[in-house]
C-alpha cells in the first residue's frame, strides 16, 4: 500500500422499542406465539383499517433523543415508504422521512488514544417493523407471519463521524447502554432487537471529499461488525489501488465466510415514493411533554459512574464495570439498598459473578438471580453464619437457581461450626492422624500448619470456622 487511507463510517441503527403493544394497534409485541397470533386488521393491512399512534413509542423516541442531546421536532409527521414485499402487508411501511422526531444530536465516545470525540446523530425516526416470511422447506409454499408486523422501531442515523471499527464499537456500546438504561429496548443484537447497518467509504488521508460509500447489512454481533469493517475497508482500498471504482451499493455480510457480496446497486435502488401518511395526524410535541419525559429520565451511565465513585467510594475501574451493563447496576443498587454494604456487593459482582458468567458463556443480561438473595448471602457471611468457602458454594446455587441462601444453608447444614469442643476434638484427631506434619511444624516448618488446617476443614466438611481452627491448632501445637 503506497498511500495512507482513512476510513469514514456512519451507522444506521434500528432499535426495537420495549412497548407492550404495537406502534399503530393494540396487538401484543410479545416474542413467540403461534403464527399470526398477535395480529389484527391494522397490522395485517386489511382494507379499511387505520393506524393509531402508540404514545409510548413517541415517549421512548423522545427519551433516546434527549439522552443523545438531539433537538426534538415539535411538529413531526409520519410518511409512507412504498414498496412491494409480502412481509409488508400494506405494501408501504409507515416511517418518517421529512420531519423525523429527533435531529442534530451526538454521543461522546472515548477514542483508542484515550481522548474524547463526539459522534454526531443526524436524526432519529420512528417506524414500524415488517412481518416475517416462513418458508416451507418441503413444499413450495411460503407463509407470512405478521406477529412482528407493526412492532415499533426507532432508527438512529449517525453522521459519518467514525474512523475505525473501535470507534464504531465504542459508539454502539454507549448507545446500547444508554437505551438499556432508558428502558426503551433490551438492544440484543443476536435477537435482532438492535440492528446496525454500516455505511463505509475510504479516502486518501487528508482528503476533503468523501469517497463512494457502500452500505453493509446483516451484522449480528459486535465481532461481525468489526470484521466487516476491516474487510470492507480493505476491499475498497484494493479497488482504488488497482485503479477501479467503488460502486455505491448495498452489500450483505456473511460472517461465517467472512466476506460480503453485493445485494443491489444504486441503479437498482427503488424509488420509495415517500409522502406524508394521510391516515395519521402530525404529532405536536409541547414543551410540557418534553419536560415530563425529561423528568422521568433515569440516571444515565455517565452520571452513575461518577456517583458510584463519590457516594460508595468504589474505584473507577469497578464503577465502570458495574455501570457497564444495566443489569449489573440494577443488581448492585438493589442489593446495596438491602444490605447497605456497597463494597461487598461490588466484590461479589466483580469476582464471582463475572467468573460464573464466563464459565457459562453468559452475558450480564442473562443473570437471573435476585438482588435480595445476594444481600442475604452477604449478611450470612458477615455475621459468620457461613465461612467464605461455603459462601462461594452457596453463591453458585444463588447464581444458578436463585435459591434463598438462608433456607439453603439451613437445609444443607452448611452453617459454620463455632462449637469449640467439637472443633478441638476434630483438631486432635487430625493431629493424631498426621504426626509427620506435627513434627515438621515443631521443627520450624511453619507452613505445615496450613496443611493441618486444611485437613481439619475437610474433616468438618468445610463448615468449620477457619479462624477458630487456626487458633486451636496453634494452641495444641505449642503444648
Amino acid at each position: 500500500m503506497s498511500k495512507e487511507y482513512e476510513t469514514v463510517i456512519g451507522l444506521e441503527v434500528h432499535v426495537e422499542l420495549a412497548t407492550k403493544t404495537k406502534i399503530f394497534c393494540s396487538c401484543s409485541t410479545a416474542f413467540g406465539g403461534a403464527i399470526n397470533a398477535h395480529t389484527c386488521p391494522v397490522c395485517t393491512g386489511m382494507p379499511g383499517s387505520l393506524p393509531v399512534l402508540n404514545k409510548q413509542v413517541v415517549e421512548y423516541a423522545m427519551a433516546v433523543g434527549l439522552a443523545t442531546k438531539c433537538e426534538i421536532t415539535r411538529y413531526c409527521k409520519f410518511d409512507r415508504k412504498n414498496y412491494f414485499y409480502p412481509d409488508n402487508p400494506q405494501n408501504y411501511q409507515i416511517s418518517q422521512l421529512y420531519l423525523p422526531i429527533c435531529r442534530n444530536g451526538g454521543i461522546e465516545i472515548e477514542t483508542e488514544q484515550g481522548g474524547k470525540k463526539t459522534v454526531g446523530i443526524h436524526e432519529i425516526h420512528m417506524e414500524e417493523d415488517a412481518g416475517k416470511l416462513v418458508h416451507d422447506e418441503d413444499g413450495d409454499v411460503s407463509v407470512v407471519d405478521f406477529n412482528r408486523s407493526g412492532v415499533p422501531l426507532i432508527e438512529i442515523v449517525s453522521e459519518p463521524d467514525m474512523r475505525s471499527a473501535e470507534e464504531v464499537i465504542a459508539y454502539l456500546d454507549k448507545l446500547r447502554l444508554m437505551i438499556q438504561y432508558l428502558g426503551a429496548s433490551d438492544c440484543k443484537l443476536q435477537e435482532g432487537s438492535m440492528r446496525a447497518d454500516v455505511n463505509l467509504s475510504v479516502r486518501e488521508a487528508g482528503a476533503k471529499e468523501f469517497g463512494t460509500r457502500t452500505e453493509m447489512k446483516n451484522l449480528n454481533s459486535f465481532r461481525a461488525i468489526a470484521r466487516a469493517i476491516e474487510n470492507e475497508t480493505n476491499r475498497q482500498i484494493d479497488l482504488i489501488e488497482s485503479g477501479e471504482k467503488v460502486v455505491q451499493e448495498t452489500r450483505r455480510w456473511d460472517d461465517g465466510k467472512a466476506y460480503s457480496y453485493a445485494m443491489r446497486s444504486k441503479e437498482d435502488a427503488q424509488d420509495y415514493r415517500y409522502f406524508p401518511d394521510p391516515d395519521l395526524v402530525p404529532v405536536s410535541i409541547s414543551d410540557e411533554w418534553i419536560e415530563s419525559v425529561r423528568a422521568k429520565q433515569p440516571e444515565l451511565p455517565t452520571e452513575k459512574l461518577a456517583r458510584y465513585q463519590s457516594e460508595y467510594g468504589l474505584p473507577e475501574y469497578d464503577a465502570q464495570i458495574l455501570t457497564g451493563t444495566k443489569k449489573f447496576a440494577d443488581i448492585f443498587e438493589a442489593a446495596t439498598e438491602i444490605c447497605k454494604k456497597p463494597k461487598k456487593v461490588s466484590n461479589w459482582l466483580m469476582v464471582e459473578t463475572i467468573r460464573l458468567l464466563k464459565e457459562n458463556a453468559m452475558d450480564a443480561e442473562d443473570i437471573r438471580f435476585s438482588p435480595v438473595n445476594l444481600a442475604k448471602l452477604i449478611d450470612l457471611t458477615d455475621n459468620g453464619t457461613v465461612n467464605s468457602t461455603v459462601a462461594k458454594e452457596v453463591f453458585e446455587a444463588v447464581f444458578k437457581e436463585d435459591i434463598d441462601p438462608e433456607k439453603y444453608v439451613e437445609e444443607k447444614g452448611l452453617k459454620t461450626v463455632n462449637d469449640a469442643g467439637a472443633l478441638r476434638e476434630t483438631v486432635e484427631t487430625v493431629m493424631k492422624n498426621n504426626p509427620k506434619s506435627v513434627e515438621d511444624y515443631k521443627n520450624g516448618k511453619e507452613k505445615a500448619i496450613g496443611f493441618l488446617v486444611g485437613q481439619a476443614m475437610k474433616a468438618m466438611k468445610g463448615k468449620a470456622n477457619p479462624g477458630m481452627v487456626n487458633e486451636i491448632l496453634k494452641e495444641l501445637l505449642s503444648k
Partner: protein, 495 residues
C-alpha cells in the same frame, strides 16, 4: 304502495307506532329490490334474507322492550360497497376484492346498526370510488332511474339510484371529490358530504384518505340530517376523526333563512355550465332570497386549480392505498404465474380496471423522485390556498350556493372515452373535499330531457347546520318528485 316510497323518518315512525313490523319493512324492501334490480343494478350484494329476517326480529324485540327507540330503529338501509361489514361480501365493485368478506364493521355502519337500522345490502359504485358515472364497476353499470339510458352519476351511483328507484328508503355513500353530491343531483335525491373528520373512516376502504368522508343519501334533508346525526361520532380508531360539537343536525331543520348571507361565486356560473342547470340553480337562489336570505355574488378565486390539485392528491394517495391489493392475502390472484413479482403484476393487471390503473399510474408518477416537488407538493400548496379562498368567503357569508354538477346525467357510455372531460365535470364538488368543508346536494328542478338538476350548498367547516337549515327551508317550498321507477310516480308531476 311500497313502503320504500316513504322517507326513512316516516317508515321509522310507522315501525315505532307498531303500524307495521320491522319484518314487513325488510320484506317490502327486498321485494322492491327484486322488482327493480334488473333495470337499475343498484346493488352488488343483497344480504341473505333469513339473516335479515332474524335481525328484524331482534330489532323488533328491542323496540318492544323499549331498548331501541330511535327514529331509525328497524329502518332498512343500503350501504355503498366500499364500507366493510362483518360477514358481508365487500368488493369496492372491483374484481381484485373478489370473495373478500371482512371480519369487522365500519364504525359509521356500526353506529347505524346500534341505532337499530338494518343493512339490506351493498350498493354498486365506480371501482374503488374512482369515476363519476358508476360505469367502472366490475359488476356492470348502474342506470339512472329517471332514464335508464343515462348514468346515475358516481361514484356512489348505486346508493343514489337505489334511493331514487325506491329500492330502499335511504343509503350511505362516500364522497372523495363529489361522489355523494353529484350522483344525488343526477338521481334527484339529497346527499350530504360532512366536514372532514365528522364521520369515522374506520372500515371505509380508502381512495383518497385525506379527502374521503362517508355521508347520507336519502329522499329529503330531514332524513339526511337524521342519518348524519346517527353516523357521526368521535372514533379513536380513526386518527383523523374529530372531537366536535354540534352533531345534533336535526335541530337545524327549521324553515327559516331570514338574514342568512349566501355567497354566489361568479366563477361557478361561467363557461361549461349547462344553461338549464344554471337557470334552475339561480331559480333556487331566488327562492331563498324571497324567503329572506341575503344573496351576493363574489369571486371565489383559484376555481380552475381545484381539479388538477384534486387529481394529483387523490391519485397519489390512491396509488399507495391500493398497493395492499396484491393477491397475497385476500381477493383475486391469477392462477398461473412465475414467481412473486409476476404474481403481483398479473394479479393487479387483471384485478384492477382501466380507470383504477390510470389513477394508480398517475399517482405513482406524481410521487416519484424528481416529480414530487413539482406535482405533489405543489398540489398540497394549492390545496392550502384553496382553503384560504374559502376562509375568506366564509368570513363574509354563511354559505356558498352553486350547482352540484355542470350538466344533468350524461348518457351511458359517453363519458369513459374522454377521462379529461369526465374529470372536468367535478369542478363544483372537488374543492369542497380539498378544503374539508361540508356540502349538501338537493333537487332543484328538471331539465327538458326529464333529468333532475342538483343545487349545492357549501358550508364552513363544522357548520353543517347552516346548510341543512337553508336546504330544509328551500325544500319546504317544493314537493318530492318520485322517479319513474317509484310506485307513486306521477307523469309530469309538479316541479
Amino acid at each position: 304502495m311500497s313502503l320504500t316510497s316513504l322517507t326513512a323518518k316516516e317508515l321509522g315512525k310507522k315501525i315505532k307506532e307498531k303500524e307495521i313490523s320491522v319484518k314487513e319493512a325488510v320484506n317490502d324492501t327486498l321485494d322492491a329490490i327484486e322488482k327493480k334490480e334488473d333495470k337499475v343494478n343498484s346493488f352488488v350484494t343483497v344480504a341473505d334474507k333469513d339473516a335479515l329476517l332474524k335481525k328484524a326480529e331482534e330489532v323488533q324485540k328491542k323496540i318492544g322492550e323499549g331498548t331501541l327507540g330511535g327514529p331509525l330503529a328497524g329502518v332498512p338501509i343500503a350501504v355503498k360497497d366500499n364500507m366493510c361489514i362483518k360477514g358481508l361480501l365487500t368488493t369496492c365493485s372491483s374484481k381484485i376484492l373478489e370473495g373478500f368478506v371482512p371480519s369487522y364493521t365500519a364504525e359509521a355502519v356500526k353506529n347505524l346498526e346500534d341505532a337499530g337500522a338494518i343493512v339490506i345490502g351493498k350498493t354498486n359504485m365506480d371501482e374503488f370510488a374512482m369515476g363519476s358515472t358508476t360505469e367502472t364497476s366490475a359488476y356492470g353499470a348502474t342506470k339512472n332511474p329517471w332514464n335508464l339510458d343515462h348514468v346515475p352519476g358516481g361514484s356512489s351511483g348505486g346508493s343514489c339510484s337505489g334511493v331514487a328507484a325506491e329500492e330502499c328508503v335511504c343509503a350511505l355513500g362516500s364522497d372523495t371529490g363529489g361522489s355523494i353530491r353529484q350522483p344525488s343531483a343526477f338521481c334527484g335525491v339529497t346527499g350530504i358530504k360532512p366536514t372532514y373528520g365528522t364521520v369515522s373512516r374506520y372500515g371505509l376502504i380508502a381512495y383518497g384518505s385525506s379527502l374521503d368522508q362517508i355521508g347520507p343519501v336519502a329522499k329529503d334533508v330531514t332524513d339526511c340530517a337524521l342519518i348524519l346525526e346517527t353516523i357521526s361520532s368521535y372514533d379513536r380508531k380513526d386518527s383523523t376523526s374529530m372531537k366536535r360539537e354540534g352533531l345534533d343536525f336535526t335541530s337545524a331543520l327549521k324553515d327559516d333563512v331570514k338574514g342568512m348571507k349566501i355567497g354566489i361565486p361568479r366563477d361557478y356560473f361561467g363557461e361549461g355550465l349547462d344553461g338549464e342547470v344554471s337557470q334552475a340553480v339561480k331559480g333556487a337562489a331566488k327562492v331563498l332570497e324571497e324567503k329572506g336570505a341575503v344573496l351576493e355574488e363574489f369571486d371565489l378565486g383559484l376555481v380552475e386549480y381545484a381539479i388538477p390539485a384534486y387529481y394529483v392528491i387523490a391519485c397519489a394517495e390512491a396509488s399507495s392505498n391500493l398497493a395492499r391489493f396484491d393477491g397475497v392475502k385476500y381477493g383475486y390472484r391469477v392462477k398461473e404465474y412465475e414467481g412473486l413479482h409476476n404474481m403481483y403484476k398479473k394479479s393487479r393487471s387483471e384485478g384492477f380496471g382501466t380507470e383504477v390503473k390510470r389513477r394508480i399510474m398517475l399517482g405513482s408518477f406524481v410521487l416519484s423522485s424528481g416529480y414530487y416537488d413539482a406535482y405533489y407538493l405543489k398540489a398540497l400548496r394549492t390545496k392550502a390556498l384553496i382553503k384560504k379562498e374559502f376562509d375568506k368567503a366564509f368570513s363574509k357569508y354563511d354559505m356558498i350556493l352553486g350547482p352540484a354538477a355542470p350538466s344533468t346525467a350524461p348518457k351511458l357510455g359517453s363519458s369513459l372515452d374522454d377521462p379529461m372531460k369526465m374529470y372536468l365535470g367535478d369542478i363544483y364538488t372537488v374543492s369542497v373535499n380539498l378544503a374539508g368543508l361540508p356540502g349538501i346536494s338537493l333537487p332543484c328542478g328538471m331539465d327538458k330531457k326529464g333529468l333532475p338538476i342538483g343545487l349545492q350548498l357549501i358550508g364552513d367547516c363544522f357548520q353543517e347546520k347552516n346548510i341543512i337549515q337553508a336546504a330544509y327551508a328551500y325544500e319546504c317550498t317544493r314537493e318530492y318528485r318520485h322517479s319513474p321507477l317509484s310506485d307513486v310516480y306521477q307523469v309530469g308531476g309538479r316541479r
